[in-house]
Symmetry: C2
Subunit: 132 residues, 2 copies
C-alpha cells in the first residue's frame, strides 16, 4: 500500500504546526475524492504528516503510524522551500535509518516543494487572492 | 508604480539563494507575458527578491532597488511556508522601518505562501511530476 509522509520543519508555535496537520488532511481528502472519480493519478491511500524538529509526530513516529496501517511503499515529501541542510542532509539521514529498520519496505524521497515547476503560478494566484 | 518584493529566508548555500533569484525572475517574466496578452491581473511592473537572513540583498536593499526604479506601492511577499516568528514578527518589523523611512510610499505585506489556498493542488501536481 502506497503512503505519503508530508515532512515539515516544525515550529514552536502550535498554530503553525496545526496548518501542516490540516494540509496533510486536505491532501488526503482531495486525493481520495479525485481517485473516486477516476480522474487522478493520486496514488497514496494513506497520508500522514511529520516534523523534522520542534514538534511531534517526528519522522520516525509518522512512518510508524503509516507502517502500522499497512503502508509498504512510503514517499517522504519534504515540505521545504529551499534545498538547504534539512533537505540535503537531515531528512535523508533519517530515511536511511528507516530503510535499515524496515528492509522489506520501500522508502522514496520526493523533491522538496520549492522545486515544484508551477510554484510561480501558485504565487501568481495567491497574490491575486483578496486578503481575508 | 506597483512592485513586488519576494522575501525568502536566505541560506548559507548559494545554490539555494540562486533558486530564489530565478523564481523572482520567472514571476516577472510570466507576469509581463500575461499582462501583454491582457489576460492577467498581474499588477506588478517590477519584481525583486530579498533575504531575511544570511544572504543579500537584504529587505532594505531590495526595497531600495525597487524605489530607485520608481516603485511607489510595494507589496512585500513572505516566501515562507509557516507563519512563525519570521513572518509574524521579523518581516513586519523591517517593513515598519521602511514605512518610517519612506512615508510617502505604500508598503503592503501579503500573506505568506504557506497560506495559499491552492497549495494542496501544487503538491498534487508536484508529486505526479517525474523526478528529473
Amino acid at each position: 500500500m502506497k503512503a505519503l509522509l508530508l515532512i515539515a520543519h516544525g515550529s514552536r508555535k502550535s498554530a503553525s504546526n496545526d496548518e501542516i496537520r490540516e494540509l496533510a488532511a486536505q491532501i488526503q481528502i482531495r486525493g481520495n475524492r479525485k481517485r473516486d472519480k477516476s480522474s487522478s493519478k493520486f496514488e497514496f491511500e494513506l497520508v500522514e504528516h511529520a516534523f523534522l524538529e520542534m514538534a511531534e509526530p517526528t519522522i520516525a513516529q509518522g512512518a510508524t503510524t503509516l507502517i502500522t496501517q499497512g503502508a509498504t511503499d512510503i514517499t517522504l515529501f519534504p515540505y521545504f522551500l529551499a534545498a538547504g541542510q534539512h533537505v540535503a542532509m537531515d531528512i535523508p539521514a533519517q530515511v536511511e535509518t528507516l530503510r535499515q529498520q524496515h528492509p522489506t519496505l520501500a522508502f522514496t524521497i520526493a523533491p522538496h516543494i520549492g522545486a515544484a515547476t508551477n510554484m510561480w503560478r501558485l504565487i501568481d494566484e495567491h497574490l491575486q487572492t483578496p486578503t481575508q
